[in-house]
Symmetry: none
Subunit: 144 residues, 2 copies
């Protein structure tokens, strides 16, 4: 399971080193894709396969679906992890994620997300402010 938060950097060649703790689970090939809220999602090849299957179930008869699938598939890329654990982030995903030099990589169960460091800090602060609501939710889920 992918958990934790890591501050890494994206160098001027668009290289990003994956957190060492994630490497074993991720393997030597991963898929980067557009995620919610303008995050960039890191999937294992296997997890991405599931997503792709689901995407392709939607009917091509509807223009909405066609555009959505174009958006999702064209916004993904399979990349090799190099010998020291780095991957290349393509420009279109850098743009999508509003990524600069400093990024946050966070583990979210079966996937990881890459965020612009500032965006992530703000978002996190938002969530923290709502800690009470959070507790409530956990309660509803029967976790606490």
């Amino acid at each position: 399971m992918l958990i934790g938060e890591f501050a890494h950097s994206l160098d001027d060649k668009n290289r990003l080193s994956l957190p060492a703790k994630f490497r074993q689970e991720m393997g030597k090939k991963i898929v980067l894709a557009r995620g919610l809220d303008h995050s960039v999602t890191i999937f294992t090849v296997k997890e991405w396969g599931k997503i792709a299957d689901k995407l392709s179930e939607s009917s091509m008869l509807q223009a909405d679906n066609r555009n959505f699938n174009r958006f999702m598939f064209s916004g993904a890329v399979e990349v090799e992890v190099d010998s020291i654990g780095r991957v290349l982030v393509p420009d279109f995903l850098k743009k999508w994620g509003n990524l600069g030099t400093k990024v946050a990589i966070i583990g979210v169960q079966n996937r990881a997300e890459i965020w612009n460091e500032n965006d992530w800090r703000e978002r996190k602060a938002e969530v923290e402010k709502q800690a009470d609501t959070l507790a409530e939710k956990l309660g509803q889920m029967g976790i606490l």
Copy 2:
């Protein structure tokens, strides 16, 4: 699987180099066809075969189908990929796709599409604007 987005150019001899990432999967022959929404579709010979089969299964008793089949078959060409990964885009497809010098080639799972760069940018922006739809769709698919 064909995924990702690439900015390439169509030179004055109508030559278009295929993204290196697509070449292995595409092989040395591909099929170019009229795509939906005025895109130009790139199929592998194999994928085109599947499409052709499906088309020919549709009933010729219906005028709609007959016309659609005429449209699809007459608008498709099999082209050789040259020694350095380029193909020739025939004029009628260039026109159909409103293609100029700058084009975007996008991977959409089992096919690729060639777009006029600007048209694609606009279309993509449309989808991006609908952030709600994005979350909703992914939710419906059970992805999140």
